[in-house]
């Protein structure tokens, strides 16, 4: 398996700590106590995992959140900006979608949004904040 | 693309060209913009061969949304309204880049 971190580093490791795994379909009833939580997306088009992560952050979960499932490199920024710390990618995904595409996922997508999501781990500072900095 | 059912009668394979979006028909070894060039499948084995070509060609990223459609056994024309429209192109006179008559 491969892991993409918010700083853009992308490395392969056979032994990745994924902690508690939960489905992306719904936020858990209780805030997990585990230091690492992996949220598994049911499909690339199923955006519930993003809201599940966002909800966990809003509830105060400050451990490590990993996104897993059949995501595209283009969705990495969505994951980070929704509160994930990392994206877990299978060898098969990397082989087909391209190691280069994953390695450059952050740089090739739009990074600076108008308003960052609360809980975002993304690189953005927010255009609104920049406009009204004083 | 919605996967369409394989027709029972005579049929041909169509798709849109990935790069240009143009409607194309499978000739047996390539794609043509003209349905006259299309390879007609009249039995189950040849329809299965067209199905296989559809998958191969999609996987090769040459075309998008490849599927078989049925022909009228007598006239050889597409049975479905949608295919008749695809074949005929827009039925209307297209606007052109000149002013309308006053």
């Amino acid at each position: 398996m491969w892991l993409l971190e918010t700083d853009g580093s992308f490395t392969r490791d056979d032994d990745i700590a994924t902690g508690l795994e939960i489905p992306g379909e719904a936020p858990p009833a209780e805030r997990p106590a585990d230091p690492v939580v992996t949220i598994r997306f049911g499909g690339a088009m199923d955006g519930r995992g993003f809201s599940t992560a966002n909800r966990l952050r809003a509830e105060g979960y400050d451990g490590r959140l990993i996104a897993a499932g059949p995501l595209m490199p283009d969705q990495a920024r969505h994951a980070f900006q929704s509160g994930f710390d990392a994206v877990l990618v299978s060898d098969a995904q990397v082989q087909r979608q391209g190691e280069d595409a994953w390695r450059n996922a952050i740089h090739r997508s739009v990074q600076e949004l108008y308003m960052p999501e609360p809980g975002s781990r993304g690189p953005e500072r927010g255009i609104w904040a920049a406009r009204h900095a004083d | 693309m919605a996967k369409q059912r394989v027709p029972k009668g005579p049929s041909v394979l169509t798709a849109n060209d990935l790069l240009t979006g143009t409607i194309v028909y499978w000739t047996g070894d390539d794609w043509s913009a003209s349905m006259h060039d299309a390879l007609r499948a009249d039995d189950e084995a040849s329809r299965a061969a067209l199905e296989a070509a559809a998958r191969t060609e999609e996987d090769a990223n040459r075309v998008v949304g490849a599927y078989l459609f049925a022909l009228d056994p007598e006239t050889g024309a597409p049975v479905a309204l949608r295919e008749r429209q695809r074949l005929g192109g827009p039925s209307i006179i297209l606007p052109i880049s000149t002013p309308r008559a006053a």
Binding site: P27, A44, M45, D46, G47, R48, F50, S51, T52, N54, R55, A58, E59, M72, D74, R77, H78, Q81, R96, Q97, G98, A101, R108, V110, Q111, E112, L113, Y114, M115, E117, P118, I127, W128, A130, R131, H132 | N16, L18, L19, T20, G21, T22, I23, N61, V64, G65, A80, L81, R82, Q85, P90, S91, I92, P95, I96, S97, T98, P99, R100, A102
Partner: protein, 554 residues
């Protein structure tokens, strides 16, 4: 109007570059079609029957003359010399090639434009009143709210893979000219001390299951607008159905959960959150609103304008009251006799851009009825403007008449369509323009029923919301047209009822004419079509269309 700053410019340029990379990866096979499709749709690129179609955003329908010239340039150089203005105030190009689209996006970005979220399961281009900033009855200019929502929703990380598409409309006047209650979320902005407050409506929509929106909460202060929309979107994202695309819109969620339960979920989500995250939105609203507060024209003396013949008809139908004295709002009809509704050639776009520069402070609007508007015309220029429109064949005086038909592209272009729409619209236009000319010659004031045509149940042609709606279907591999009556898109929004069995394409003009005749024969003095329909009931119209003897005593 709103002007891009360096941030906006960099944002759309970055999105264009991102899409160029996505196209390259698709062609290299690193993205499968199943993966690429949602990515291209989120950038407005469809694969239609004959070609790729690019839908370009015209945020809340506002364009500068320079942007219109850019659209003309794209029509002439990347399409077949024309484009189609849509019911969502956008423009679509029917004949683009995938390989050219990145270049088109670069050209758009240069002009401060984009194709972001004009399709896909995300928050779509926000729409509004085409007369915003000019309408005499306006209380709050809705465009500042629209621009704020455009920025907030653009490339939103969390709400980009929703169960289904999501449409928001904003109005700021008592009269609803944006079909606000037929949107997933509709906002009615009202004046308040500093910034507006809002009535929030939810769960409206057309398509297979038409619904009029319900009031979610009234008088929401500005500070709570974005926090509330954020929570409304999140509850929809988490709970909206994903098992059946026809049941995936928020209207179904609200219907199945019940409005109260939905509202409880939204408030529960908000309760966990610090609204301070959205505090900067207030300053941003003020910055945006300042662009619109600086109205482009100053009051001048009112000039009485009168005319004869076709000019008089045009003044009556296409010219509306303006909030700034001495000015008028002019609608340019794209519904000439036999024309394709909403289509304009590159040449026509350039002419409208020139007219905007000469007579309308360089500004143009696109209406949801697929016409163009010059919003700031001095009354003293109306006669000259009319003359130039006549020369260009764009002077049809039928705005608000029945021949001002809404039509989707239908099966002549669209991969989802089940029947053609455009030829039906053209045939009806021919017939109706003749009726309207006769009525006018006879001194009758014509204010016809609205007529909208969709080529499939997805209802892009808004047939449910028309007084007379036409829906094209495929029956046994032939086209069949169903007629609905009594729909309304205005403040009294209502969904039309099916009249009876369907018609062939050839039968449609006669059927529509019989419906209009039945209304004229049975209406009370000054009674609108929908009022008459409600009073008389369907039977009168059914008899008129399906039986030989059509008349009933009023």
């Amino acid at each position: 109007m709103y002007q891009y700053d360096g941030h906006d410019q960099a944002f759309v340029a970055a999105r264009a570059a991102e899409f160029r990379d996505q196209v390259a990866r698709r062609l290299a096979g690193q993205l499968s079609e199943d993966e690429f499709k949602p990515l291209r749709l989120k950038n407005g690129l469809y694969l239609q029957l004959h070609a790729y179609m690019l839908r370009v955003a015209i945020p809340y329908g506002v364009l500068s003359s320079g942007q219109m010239r850019t659209l003309a340039h794209l029509a002439d150089n990347y399409d077949r010399g024309y484009g189609h203005f849509t019911t969502r105030q956008n423009i679509q190009y029917n004949w683009t090639e995938l390989k050219d689209v990145p270049d088109m996006l670069d050209i758009l970005a240069e002009a401060g434009m984009h194709a972001i979220q004009t399709s896909g399961n995300c928050i779509r281009n926000v729409t509004t009143d085409a007369f915003a900033g000019a309408a005499g009855d306006e209380e709050v200019d809705p465009r500042a709210t629209c621009e704020l929502l455009r920025q907030w929703s653009s490339l939103h990380p969390e709400f980009a893979f929703l169960p289904r598409k999501f449409k928001i409309a904003v109005i700021g006047a008592a009269e609803d000219r944006a079909a606000m209650k037929f949107h997933d979320i509709g906002l009615r902005a009202k004046p308040d001390v500093q910034r507006p407050r809002y009535d929030i409506w939810v769960g409206g929509g057309q398509g297979r299951t038409p619904r009029v929106a319900q009031l979610f909460e009234a008088d929401v202060p500005f500070e709570r607008l974005l926090p509330t929309l954020d929570a409304m979107m999140r509850v929809y994202n988490l709970h909206g159905r994903r098992d059946n695309k026809y049941k995936a819109r928020i209207k179904i969620l609200v219907a199945e959960m019940g409005l109260d339960a939905y509202r409880d979920e939204v408030y529960a989500d908000m309760a966990e959150r610090d609204p301070a995250a959205f505090a900067v939105a207030g300053k941003e609203y003020d910055r945006i609103a300042a662009f619109f507060d600086r109205g482009p024209v100053a009051p001048i003396d009112d000039v009485p304008v009168a005319g004869e013949g076709a000019f008089a008809e045009w003044l009556d139908q296409n010219v509306s009251a303006h909030k700034v004295p001495g000015h008028a709002v002019v609608t340019i009809s794209l519904k000439a006799k036999g024309a394709i509704p909403g289509d304009a050639t590159g040449e026509e776009m350039r002419l409208v851009a020139d007219l905007a520069d000469d007579y309308s402070a360089g500004e143009i609007r696109v209406t949801h009825r697929q016409n163009l508007v010059l919003p700031f015309v001095p009354q003293s220029a109306l006669a000259t403007l009319y003359g130039r429109l006549v020369e260009a064949g764009l002077a049809t005086g039928n705005v608000g008449l029945t021949s001002d038909i809404i039509s989707c592209p239908g099966l002549d272009y669209c991969a989802l369509a089940t029947a053609r729409s455009i030829p039906i619209a053209q045939a009806l236009s021919d017939r109706l323009r003749e009726r309207e000319a006769k009525a006018r010659a006879a001194g009758v004031t014509v204010k016809g029923p609205t007529l909208n045509i969709s080529g499939c149940i997805n209802a892009c042609g808004h047939h449910h919301a028309a007084n007379i709606g036409i829906l094209g279907l495929t029956k046994a591999e032939e086209e069949s047209y169903q007629i609905t009556l009594g729909g309304r898109a205005d403040g009294g929004a209502a969904v039309g009822e099916i009249l009876g069995p369907g018609f062939t394409a050839e039968e449609v003009p006669d059927a529509v004419e019989k419906i209009i005749e039945a209304w004229e024969a049975n209406r009370l003095e000054g009674e609108s079509f929908t009022d008459a329909y409600q009073r008389l009931g369907k039977a009168v119209f059914k008899a008129a269309v399906y039986e030989e003897a059509p008349r009933v005593a009023a």
